[in-house]
């Protein structure tokens, strides 16, 4: 069926649910849309349901209920068409290590229907762009982890997909390579105009790369907005208190005294209080007025980690 899909969202998810055999509900009726050209991040710890969601969008996981459409094409009933205009970079290495980088490119290009005359020019261009030109004719088994990752991203782009899924693209890489790849990913939209849906539990990635993020927790999307808007909900600063004794009891005490609101949270030995509308010194004075014993205090700007902890009471980088 032919779609006039230029006006359609790149990704449209409605009530998407996945219940595994045995009754484990991995995804519990999520809804979101990703506009064409947007970079959208799904954030959450391991087990939040991010990869299961990507699995359903890339048609390797069968949804239990709900629907998902890629440029208007239903992933369950029109799977091949849905896959035709997207590509995936997986969390784990997914390459033919015994084959050369060039051969990996060629196989991907042919399966995605790239015209034969376009294959080699695109490979050469991508190899130049991703600094792979000198490696192309070597077996992938000889590549370093960072080189292999670049190959996988470049390979995904050889078909010029309109929608690119990046599942934890930098996990397991050393910090230097990770930051280099963040820059590479950041340039994808400018170069290819591709819509990007990435999953990550690295907050700096999401803040740097994403126009909007959906925070997933226990199979649900618990927040969905621009990173700046999510951060603004916590104000300009948060006050962190390291407390003696039970931090949950300390938080309850601060709440009962009106010092901490429901947007405050306790993790480990630390209670975090958004300062919003007050001064850090004023909040600290109020804390001391309650008689609560603290071992250390500090203030800092809020992060998406704070947003996540406030929403879920859990840690993001689990």
């Amino acid at each position: 069926m032919e779609h006039n899909d230029t006006q359609l969202p790149a990704v449209s998810v409605r009530g998407l649910t996945k219940t595994w055999a045995g009754g484990v509900e991995a995804v519990k009726g999520i809804d979101f849309e990703v506009a064409t050209g947007e970079v959208f991040g799904l954030l959450g710890p391991n087990g939040a349901g991010k990869s299961t969601t990507v699995g359903m969008l890339t048609t390797t996981v069968r949804p239990t209920s709900g629907s998902a459409r890629l440029h208007g094409r239903d992933v369950a009933t029109d799977a091949i068409a849905a896959r035709a205009d997207s590509a995936v970079v997986f969390q784990d290495p997914v390459v033919d290590r015994a084959l050369t980088g060039r051969r990996n490119f060629e196989i991907h290009a042919r399966l995605w229907g790239v015209a034969p005359n376009d294959v080699n020019p695109r490979i050469e261009q991508l190899a130049d762009s991703f600094d792979l030109a000198d490696l192309l004719d070597r077996p992938v088994a000889t590549y370093s982890g960072g080189q292999r990752r670049r190959l996988e991203i470049a390979r995904a782009l050889v078909s010029e997909p309109r929608l690119l899924f990046l599942d934890e693209p930098t996990v397991g890489l050393d910090p230097r390579i990770r930051y280099e790849l963040i820059d590479v990913i950041g340039g994808l939209r400018a170069r290819f105009g591709a819509t990007v849906l990435l999953t990550t539990h690295y907050l700096d990635e999401a803040e740097r790369l994403c126009d909007r993020v959906g925070i997933m927790h226990a199979g649900r999307i618990v927040a969905l907005d621009r990173p700046a808007n999510l951060l603004a909900a916590l104000g300009d600063q948060v006050l962190e208190l390291r407390v003696d004794g039970d931090p949950t009891a300390a938080l309850a005490r601060l709440r009962s005294c009106g010092v901490a609101g429901h947007d405050s949270f306790a993790v480990g030995a630390t209670v975090t209080i958004p300062v919003r509308g007050r001064t850090a010194d004023g909040v600290l004075a109020s804390v001391r007025g309650t008689g609560l014993a603290t071992t250390a205090t500090s203030t800092r700007p809020p992060t998406l980690d704070d947003v996540y902890l406030r929403l879920t009471g859990d840690t993001l980088a689990a």
Binding site: T59, T60, A84, G113, E180, F192
Partner: protein, 286 residues
């Protein structure tokens, strides 16, 4: 690499509708890929060939020299064709190792994300397994002929042989594909391999007629696709009396018996390949 090395030029006008990848083109690409991987894995090419060649070149002539006789047949030629019944299952089962490696550390997930019909991945694997098996069978037959096996190479003889060999190959590769999608590790798969690939060889009349077995075991042998495949192969290449087919069917019309046995092997191939495709589908679309 540094971030500065990533030079991104403006994108060309984007296509609005994705292209479909034709099934034949996709199958060709997938087959060439699997072939390239197999060609870089000497284990897949050489290990399955070793035992049957030794059987054909060493054991069969040695046995022939000390006296086993098959009425109307040269024993060495009889055994040489019998070793094809070891080679095909062994090679097809070894191909399953590549499927597990592909799934665990290879590019299979990228193939699954491709806009092509996923059963083509299985068909490509099957095609390559058959190609490599064919190559090995040719090597085996040439080696056996060189050692003195007397084989009929008329068109009809080769046609019967090929029909049985191809259908047996499809059946055995289907078993390999099914198991490789159910068994989590290469180690476990390798442990199961001899039971599937080698044990039937001892019952299927590979080195002696099934009538030499106790009647219960002979009955069991008649149910094995390998027994039927070997009887048809021998009917083609060396046994115009169709004694192997007669041992199975007890009829006198050789062509009819050969057709029936071929149908049996074909039925196994159809059922097992259907099962393989279902197992594959269930393993990749959880």
């Amino acid at each position: 690499m540094s971030a500065q090395t990533v030079t991104l030029s403006p994108v060309a006008a984007r296509r609005e509708h994705p292209r479909a990848t034709g099934a034949l083109s996709a199958l060709t690409t997938l087959t060439r890929r699997r072939l390239a991987l197999s060609a870089r894995t000497p284990r897949e090419l050489l290990v399955p060939l070793l035992t049957p060649v030794l059987f054909a070149l060493v054991i069969a002539p040695a046995l022939a020299s000390i006296g086993p006789t098959i009425p109307g047949l040269d024993y060495m030629s009889f055994a040489a064709v019998g070793t094809v019944g070891l080679l095909i299952p062994l090679n097809c089962m070894f191909s399953g190792i590549g499927v597990i490696i592909d799934r665990e550390t290879g590019a299979r997930r990228d193939l699954l994300a491709a806009p092509v019909s996923r059963p083509l991945i299985v068909l490509a694997n099957l095609a390559v397994a058959l190609m490599i098996t064919a190559l090995q069978v040719v090597v085996l037959i040439i080696a056996a002929a060189g050692r003195g096996a007397d084989l009929n190479t008329s068109a009809s003889a080769v046609a019967w042989f090929l029909g049985a060999a191809v259908l047996l190959g499809i059946a055995m590769y289907s078993v390999a594909e099914t198991l490789s999608n159910r068994i989590p590790t290469v180690e476990e798969y390798t442990g199961a391999l001899p039971a599937i690939a080698i044990v039937p060889f001892f019952f299927a009349g590979s080195l002696f007629p099934i009538t030499a077995l106790p009647s219960a075991l002979a009955g069991f042998a008649r149910m094995l696709p390998l027994t039927h495949a070997l009887a048809v192969m021998r009917y083609g290449l060396l046994d115009h009396n169709a004694s192997g087919l007669h041992d199975i069917w007890g009829m006198s019309n050789a062509s009819l018996m050969a057709g029936l046995s071929l149908a049996v092997v074909g039925a196994y191939a159809a059922v097992l390949s259907t099962m393989a495709l279902r197992t594959f589908r269930d393993s990749v679309e959880s």
